[in-house]
Amino acid sequence: MNRLDTGGDSLNSPPLSSLSLEALKIEAVKLRIDILRMLNAAGSGHPGGSLSIVDILTVLFARHIRRVRPGIPDPERDRFVLSKGHGVPALYAVFARLGIIPREELLTLRKLGTRLQGHPHNGSLPYVEASTGSLGQGVSIAQGMALAARLDKSERRVYTILGDGEIQEGQMWEAFLSAAKYRLDNLIAILDYNKGQIDGFTSDVMNIDPVTDKLVSFGWEVQRIDGHDFPAIDAALEAAKTREGRPHFIVADTVKGKGVSFMEHNAEWHGKAPNDQETAAAVEELEQLLIPAMASQS
């Protein structure tokens, strides 16, 4: 199972930035396969919340985040902070697709000596902008980066993805207050509203709704989208660039475990790696989605 044959190969594929939204949708399927194989090789990790954000990450890094590319990080790059650090396998898969890390390195996830720590560590890997994984801290960090960009009179934007369970943390609401106070319109926060957390449904564990109303009342510009609808993701990220004077929130309704039928909507797959058999079944299911794409290419 420790092979990466049909996933998101960066060497033999066109750059993500050159692809249409329709083609990016296929890339995201390949990235899902990489994520499952990484987690299987690691023997632990978080498939549910990685699969729910991979479509957003694909569109974000392909079409919106500027100057994140292989090589020495450019100080004028846009920043991305994965506040919900447990979703990091999805980020590593995107980094491999961008050519920032070799694709075979994905199989080192969580193993001793790896750059691919189980949760993001900025000291281990370029473009991991901060260490996260203890929930609730990413918006504050992203806000500091956005304030620094303003002090530098720079056009840098800062993006962050939060979990729905994560915003139960009090520090998040501190940052929601302060980003509005500082009118950080170069800050774009995306809520991965996949409705689940470790102990069950978010609405049962500690309900966050009506989350959109709450964020609006805190002074944010809020959009709500289907987080697996590529044109909607792209349009929301585009709209978040144009408005001025307020921080931007994109509440993305997503499906935990998206793309793998037996993982979808199942809290059990929050923090459990698929075994060989489960990985094979999941990859087979995903590969079905690649067949029409391959046929159209030949």
């Binding site: 560590h121 901060a130 918006v139 504050s140 806000q143 980066m145 620094a148 520090q171 302060s178």
Partner: protein, 320 residues
Amino acid sequence: MKTPTRISFGETISELGGEDSAIVVFDADLAKSTQSIRFGKRFPDRFFEMGIQEQNMIGTAAGMALSGKKPFICSFATFVVGRFETIRMSIAYSNAPVVIVGTHCGIGVGEDGYSQMALEDIALMRSLPGMHVIHPADDVETRQVVRYLVEHPHPAYLRLTRQAVPDVHGEDYVFRFGKADPLRPGRDAVVFCCGPVVSHALDSAETLALEGYDVRVVNIHTIKPLDIDTVVAAARETGRVVTVEDHSIIGGLGSAIAETLGEILPTPILRIGIRDVFGESGSSEALYEKHGLDAKGITLQIRAFLEGTPAFHRANSSAG
């Protein structure tokens, strides 16, 4: 002269703000108390009033530091260090060069009582990999430490006093990061001390000298990284070690010294500090007297230690 070291900080950082435009200062609704307001008045564009949000202040400053700024975040020591796990992730593990400025350290806070007193902060900050911990003794030292921290960006904790503390250094003093600061020679014992009680230790050494005890006094302004060479040499030369700090004896300077000597050169040690109890309201002077941290109390304990009398053993039976 006596100066609260928070004022030394506030004046120095506002001076340096004119020299280095990367300096940014944050406060959490205590800008007048921490004296960060001095910077805020001169550089309003680089001063961030975060309201009563210590965690958000920590994270925001970390983001700034990771984008090339030099943030100083200010609050009462216990309020900011109390958000330990946020410091652990956003500053320490992210290697974000933020200087955490904790004022109102120790029982020296006085009348406000325990809730406002940091008695465990050195222990917490010292446990984080890579975190520098500096606790200056007086005005001159604090000013030089602040300049050092601006010029050497690194995750750091700066521990300052509410109350005025007497000068123990002359104007010609030179602060050296990570190097112990010998204040008085002596062969019978060495007192390692830091912060507002350094002057008490010096006064105590004067009194003991009159009784024929030759007590060395060394100011450990940098608690982490500890000047191990100087600590071990002083222990070897005197054979008796005393630590004095306005902090719990669990995890603070006394622990740092005891851990070091325990591994390298086991030496009889007396730790003078807060003995595993909470603080309370009272004047600084009254509290220092109650906890044996005034010159008189320090003298009594060191005398008993050197004489090996029962008073020393009784005093040391209750904690840690």
